[in-house]
């Protein structure tokens, strides 16, 4: 029994290509590469080879995902080097790991190998090209490595895109009709079905026609039970998004803390895409473990005393890991401040999953006034259920509505026009960015936080706080260099038919789809590497040819003094 620490080997260019000036950057698309055991992993590799000599079989127990498959293949290669006849099997599923050993999945291991090679070649080629070309443009860049990564740049692209939308935004005035009725000592505000319009004369005319009608007629009275659904079982992406929203920790910190909690045995493995609990897991037992807690122990008891509900099932199952859940109870005194926050979130989320939905009674009233329609709605929360433990969700009763009969006529107390202005979107927050990356196939749940950390570290974006106290959020704002790179690369392909800027998610997404084809066995590793390299090489050639565009963008943003 022994262990590894992530990937054993790294891919590198042959020595003669390692120097920055050793070859034109474009040569890195073809330059020979070799796989070597990382220096700091040498003892681990030696250990595996040695142990293999005295073993008949090797049983690999790495994560059941693509990366795990690749690490497994690395371990196997070392073991075979030590003992060519060793029999190799791997655990197929965490839950029944030892029971059904299977072969390593070569397809998945190959997909990772392809990804590693592509990241190396594309990353190195563009990083060298842009660094060598741009260093001379501005004093600020002189000593700087301007790194490129095929996930990093689309990530930056999202931040810049939002930033420009905020910067370019133009506010506009709109007008709306508000109708109010005083009844039974309550003021009922009816909202306009059209919400608001951008034409004052039209709104004025519409209001006049309401007033001409004098009476409004109740067209709909709908009473219906409403519920607010308990959350789905927790995935990594959700942990990162919710965590940075509610816990005010950045996604990378959250993942570090979650991993520490996992290593100490308090929570399950925090990298998972699964949002459905396997039937085999005894959830009640996990709930019982939370009894000792001062804050939610009683809630957990109530669940076991009859309020327990089987969690909702989401649509995702990575077949490797269950949703993130607490494994056992830990006293808060054992945890540091951040661990406490993340652990509390994981537990509350888990208990919420095992609770009933919140239930209420909703009332919707629609009226017709002249030719216009208005509506008012009310909500009474009857049973809070999961909301009692999941303090992050809010669902409150509204003011109670007076009684209305369908078909009844009434004269509104007030009807008037209100004026408002459109407001700019906010700068991108980290949870939003994770959502965008997830939807656009940039990075995996395991790497998204790293890509975001990377663009901060490279000084392409900075974090600005907005607001204070409980409403404080952290916004991502690109630096001048960040904006310059995105604008530069967009300009490089501007006007070229079907050329895609590196700041957009499309190239990377396509590469990701090809990885899936390797996993499915429909394409070979070589084919995919070649196709993806061709795709990026095209952009590389455009970039070289139109490097002036990139330089001009950097000059524009870095050498001009800010106006303010």
């Amino acid at each position: 029994m022994t262990s590894v620490l992530g990937h054993l080997t790294g891919l590198e260019f042959d020595r003669q290509y390692k120097g920055w000036m050793s070859c034109p950057p474009g040569a890195l698309f073809e330059a020979p590469v070799q796989e070597d055991v990382d220096k700091d992993k040498k003892p681990i590799a030696d250990n595996i080879r040695n142990q293999a000599k005295y073993s008949k079989a090797l049983f690999i127990w790495t994560d059941c995902d693509r990366e795990g498959e690749h690490i497994g293949a690395e371990v196997r290669n070392q073991a075979k080097a030590g003992n060519a006849r060793i029999e190799v099997k791997r655990a197929s599923h965490v839950l029944q790991a030892a029971r059904e050993p299977v072969e390593l999945d070569e397809f998945q291991a190959n997909a990772v190998a392809a990804r590693i090679e592509l990241d190396l070649r594309i990353g190195a080629a563009f990083t060298r090209l842009q660094t060598l070309q741009l260093q001379a443009v501005s004093a600020v860049l002189k000593e700087k490595v301007i790194s490129y990564g095929s996930c990093q740049f689309p990530t930056l692209g999202f931040v810049v895109d939002r930033y420009l939308r905020v910067q370019n935004f133009k506010a506009e005035t709109f007008w709306s009709i508000k109708v109010m009725l005083s009844r039974e000592g309550k003021k009922v505000n009816f909202l306009w079905k059209r919400v608001h319009l951008f034409d004052r004369a039209a709104v004025t005319m519409m209001l006049e026609r309401c007033l001409m009608a004098k009476q409004a007629r109740v067209t709909k009275v709908n009473q219906k039970p409403k519920s607010k659904w308990r959350p789905l079982p927790l995935t990594t992406v959700d942990l990162q998004m919710m965590g940075s929203r509610f816990l005010r920790l950045d996604s990378q910190t959250i993942m570090k803390v979650a991993e520490a909690l996992y290593t100490k045995g308090y929570i399950s493995y925090p990298r998972t895409e699964t949002d459905q609990f396997d039937k085999a897991i005894d959830l009640k037992k996990l709930v019982e473990k939370q009894f000792p807690d001062n804050q939610w122990g009683q809630y957990a008891k109530d669940l076991i005393d009859g309020k327990f509900r089987t969690p909702r099932s989401g649509r995702n199952n990575d077949k490797a890991h269950p949703p993130i859940h607490p494994v056992c109870w830990v006293s808060p005194s054992q945890l540091n401040a951040n661990e406490k926050k993340v652990y509390e979130f994981v537990v509350r989320r888990f208990l919420a999953c095992c609770s009933d939905d919140a239930k209420g009674q909703g009332t919707d009233i629609e009226i017709q006034y002249g030719e216009e329609f208005f509506h008012a709605s009310g909500l009474i929360v009857l049973e809070r259920n999961y909301l009692d433990v999941y303090v992050y969700d809010k669902w409150e009763s509204s003011q109670q509505l007076p009684n209305f009969e369908r078909g009844e006529m009434f004269e509104p107390t007030e009807a008037n026009i209100s004026e408002g202005k459109t407001t700019a979107p906010n700068y991108l927050t980290e949870p939003e960015l994770i959502g965008l990356m997830d939807a656009n196939g940039i990075g995996t749940d395991a790497t998204m936080a790293e890509h975001i950390a990377k663009i901060k570290e490279r000084e392409y974006v900075v974090v600005h706080p907005r607001g204070s106290g409980r409403s404080k959020v952290e916004e991502l704002i690109p630096t001048r260099l960040g904006v310059a790179l995105v604008e530069g690369y967009d300009n490089v392909v501007a006007g070229l038919p079907n050329s895609i800027s590196l700041s957009k998610p499309f190239l990377r997404k396509e590469m990701e789809l090809r990885m899936l084809e390797i996993c499915a066995g429909s394409k070979s590793r070589q084919e995919v590497v070649q196709q993806s390299l061709d795709m990026y090489r095209e952009v590389f050639i455009h970039t070289q040819r139109r490097i002036e565009m990139l330089k001009a963008a950097c000059r524009k943003y870095l050498n001009e003094q800010p106006a303010s």
Partner: protein
């Protein structure tokens, strides 16, 4: 050979359009002889729908807007018609100008937004440059937004013109199928029956509105090409008013 009166009567009875006799004579003079009357009527109608009605339609007082139709002092009046009009402009007044500009720019970049996901609408590997290439979309996304990038929420404000050249603003008070930035071209012909005019605005609803179709190519093309510039210009002029 069909005579002018036959054709005029046919178009009047089927489409309530009163074709000007001088326009019809010019049309007949330029068309081939020995064409059956029915085919000739079809062609004439098609030409009317593609024409500027100031030239092609007769100006009977009952089929024209009142001269003072835009007078905001008149609270409400009814115009029985039927009045044939042509569309000179269409705008979405339920959507801010700026978000319409943003939508057009997304289309220019060949992107569309589906939830949080950005979708490329341009067919990769296709020789088309993109903006015209509205229907192709390599993701196979259902319901991808259309090329003008309009969410189409409305209501719409139209500028309508009668055969005499009198213009009036019209507001889509109830949603009318066929009124949208993508579907209603400039120069399309509409028949108004029993329309209400309030404060100088024609109130459109499905009861008073009949779309006859057609478009004026010479107006429609520059209107489409100039839409973004016009939106930007209006945004700019709004800013200068505020200052």
């Amino acid at each position: 050979m069909a005579n002018a009166e036959q054709i005029a009567a046919q178009i009047l009875s089927t489409k309530s359009l009163c074709v000007s006799s001088s326009w019809l004579n010019t049309f007949l003079a330029s068309s081939q002889r020995n064409v059956p009357a029915s085919a000739l009527t079809k062609t004439a109608l098609f030409r009317v729908l593609a024409s500027d009605i100031r030239q092609s339609l007769a100006t009977n007082p009952t089929s024209l807007f009142p001269i003072d139709i835009s007078d905001p002092a008149v609270q409400e009046r009814r115009i029985p018609g039927p009045i044939p009009v042509q569309v000179l402009d269409i705008e979405d007044i339920g959507t801010s100008l700026w978000s319409q500009v943003e939508a057009i720019e997304r289309v220019e970049r060949g992107e569309a937004i589906r939830g949080r996901e950005i979708v490329r609408t341009v067919n990769v590997g296709d020789d088309n440059e993109g903006t015209e290439n509205e229907s192709s979309n390599n993701t196979g996304a259902a319901g991808a937004p259309s090329a003008s990038g309009s969410s189409g929420s409305g209501p719409h404000r139209l500028i309508l013109q009668d055969a005499n050249g009198t213009k009036a603003v019209a507001i889509e008070m109830q949603c009318i199928e066929g009124i949208s930035l993508e579907k209603l071209p400039i120069g399309a012909k509409i028949l108004l029956r029993n329309a209400t005019v309030a404060r100088g605005m024609v109130l459109l609803n499905p009861n008073c509105y009949t779309l006859l179709g057609g478009k004026i190519e010479a107006l429609d093309k520059p209107w489409k090409e100039g839409r973004k510039a016009r939106l930007l210009q209006r945004i700019d002029s709004m800013g200068s008013e505020a200052n």
